[in-house]
């Protein structure tokens, strides 16, 4: 019970201190909206909203989770308030899950902003909702853990931001959201399969348009594997360098 009281408190504090601040709420709303409009403006023909939806959702989650988590953890580490959490009688696994839960929640809520917008512009009756929700959660968790890994590899907040972009932008273009993987140059194609977002995007395509490239089970297994791996590496890194 001690652990869960601490978990809830950490999550609640992070939501209040970081995620539910007006600039972040507006970021969460404006960012997906801007991406959607960008694709509409860029297209000279009528755009199928359902074609755009998986990409916009994935971007909203990826940018929402990684940027916030990498910065907040680095910020607390710099201010040494993170030490307070490391000294609490709760397991490191639960502590880091509490720290990432806020980002997962924030990313998942961000993902549904474009869904609400799309509902006014297109018929979403063909969407497989359970798959969509599962995809959003898994993309949010894997992106949050990627943000955590970035946070535990850097010392300064600006490094966290720079390092996040180093991962995010190549991932956006390689994961098959906007360019099909088989149309990528041969050298880049294997790289695409090493990215968690490739499987998340595929799961989103399957849920929205039934146009997934891999079987759902493969996507789910790949995403779960990435989540476990990223979390494990992050914890290992914390144990090595923060509790050295």
């Amino acid at each position: 019970m001690t652990g869960w009281i601490a978990y809830y408190s950490i999550l609640r504090k992070d939501m209040r201190s970081y995620y539910l601040k007006p600039p972040n709420i507006s970021w969460g709303l404006i960012f997906p909206l801007a991406w959607t409009l960008m694709f509409f403006v860029r297209s000279e023909t009528d755009v199928d909203v359902r074609t755009l939806l998986p990409g916009v959702m994935a971007l909203s989650i990826l940018f929402g989770t990684t940027s916030m988590l990498a910065v907040t953890v680095t910020f607390e580490k710099r201010g040494r308030s993170f030490e307070r959490l490391l000294l609490a009688p709760i397991s490191l696994e639960l502590l880091m899950w509490a720290k990432t839960s806020g980002a997962v929640f924030f990313g998942a809520v961000n993902a549904f902003v474009p869904v609400v917008l799309a509902a006014f512009l297109a018929d979403l009756s063909g969407v497989i909702w359970w798959q969509l929700v599962l995809a959003v959660i898994l993309v949010a968790v894997s992106s949050a853990f990627l943000g955590l890994l970035i946070a535990v590899c850097v010392k300064e907040v600006f490094e966290a931001q720079t390092f996040s972009n180093f991962f995010r932008f190549p991932m956006v273009f390689l994961c098959g959201l906007f360019f099909p993987i088989d149309q990528l140059p041969g050298l880049l194609q294997p790289l695409a399969y090493l990215l968690p977002l490739t499987y998340g995007a595929d799961l989103l395509h399957e849920a929205v348009q039934s146009s997934g490239r891999f079987p759902v089970a493969v996507n789910l297994a790949a995403l779960v594997t990435f989540c476990v791996l990223l979390f494990w590496v992050s914890l290992h890194r914390i144990r090595q360098s923060w509790i050295g």
């Binding site: 019970m1 001690t2 652990g3 009281i5 601490a6 809830y8 408190s9 950490i10 504090k13 201190s17 201010g79 040494r80 308030s81 030490e83 307070r84 959490l85 490391l86 000294l87 609490a88 009688p89 709760i90 397991s91 509790i243 050295g244």
Partner: protein, 324 residues
């Protein structure tokens, strides 16, 4: 060493290397239940590294650690519930107010809402912070920040409180108040492990003191035993109307067994191994037209003990105190 089962903390040959640098070198000591144990040494002596090992922020390269009779080497989480930790920097959350910070810290130890609210109120009252309970921590003065950080360290009623340099960088009045609060906590039964480089702080608060120099523990003893070692040293400070500098060689010739240390042209320290008869000394000075205005006996202090035991220059400690 006594029975480790009775000790609040029993550290045995704790060693910590950072790459090739040995920060803590085979340090062994015991802290008795209910005592204030001072860990004294200059900056860089290994005090913070030791406290980090004891609390779980660092892993020892070798050695073992028992907390309240339980072997916790490699699994410090088991003991963290009994520990309160006050780091050398006030590290609460600047965006939360005083009450929220305390409640948040209480929740990390599994305290339920009603219990943590009541405890936060009690501590804010005890530490004189009720009036600023709703003010953001970031807007607190240094002294208030320190007090709230100590309050956060004891919010869950720990049996052992670790304090790393609790009064460094704060004003004299706040430091005095913090010492009073720590003494009260100890009287209420909390074992206190205190690291400091302020010798006078250790002298006022601690029952036993350990001297740490360059990662090595050079002496652990009670204040009484430590001071007894220098009690046969006598120091007298003489103040005069002036010209003491010119009298130095004359004084040395007349009193060859005494050591004269000039502080200024009007003040001189006389150090001896026996009680010093002042009348001949004053008479000699007066014969040479120097009026002695004051003669003050200086009692041996922990500073003298520290210098004698560690061989460290007092100036080094003082410089580091003022730097911090």
């Amino acid at each position: 060493m006594g029975d480790t089962m009775d000790a609040a903390i029993a550290a045995k040959r704790l060693t910590k290397y950072f790459h090739d640098v040995c920060a803590v070198d085979e340090v062994s000591f015991e802290v008795r239940d209910g005592e204030v144990f001072g860990f004294l040494g200059p900056n860089g002596a290994g005090k913070t590294t030791t406290i980090n090992i004891l609390t779980g922020l660092a892993r020892p390269t070798s050695g073992s650690l028992c907390i309240l009779g339980q072997e916790v080497t490699g699994n410090i989480k088991r003991a963290q519930h009994w520990m309160g930790i006050v780091p050398d920097e006030s590290n609460l959350y600047p965006e939360l107010d005083g009450r929220e910070n305390l409640c948040f810290c209480a929740s990390l130890y599994g305290m339920r809402w009603r219990e943590r609210e009541a405890r936060a109120r009690e501590l804010l009252e005890q530490f004189g912070l009720t009036a600023v309970a709703r003010r953001h921590f970031g807007a607190y003065s240094k002294g208030m920040k320190r007090k709230l950080t100590i309050a956060a360290g004891i919010i869950h009623r720990p049996r052992i409180l670790f304090l790393d340099e609790p009064t460094t960088g704060i004003d004299v009045a706040s430091a005095r108040e913090i010492r009073r609060l720590l003494a009260e906590l100890n009287q209420a039964g909390t074992t206190i492990f205190l690291t400091t480089h302020y010798i006078e702080e250790a002298e006022r608060l601690c029952h036993r003191i350990a001297f740490l120099v360059d990662g090595r523990l050079v002496r652990v003893d009670t204040l009484g035993n430590l001071v007894r070692a220098v009690q046969d040293k006598h120091t007298v400070e003489l103040s005069a109307s002036g010209g003491l500098g010119e009298m130095r060689s004359l004084l040395r010739d007349a009193f060859p067994n005494e050591h004269f240390e000039e502080i200024s042209d009007t003040r001189v320290l006389v150090r001896t191994d026996h009680p010093l008869p002042l009348a001949p000394l004053i008479r000699l000075l007066e014969q040479h037209g120097i009026q002695v205005t004051e003669a003050r006996v200086i009692r041996p202090s922990l500073e003298d003990v520290f210098v004698q035991i560690t061989g460290l220059e007092l100036a080094r400690m003082k410089n580091e105190s003022s730097r911090s």
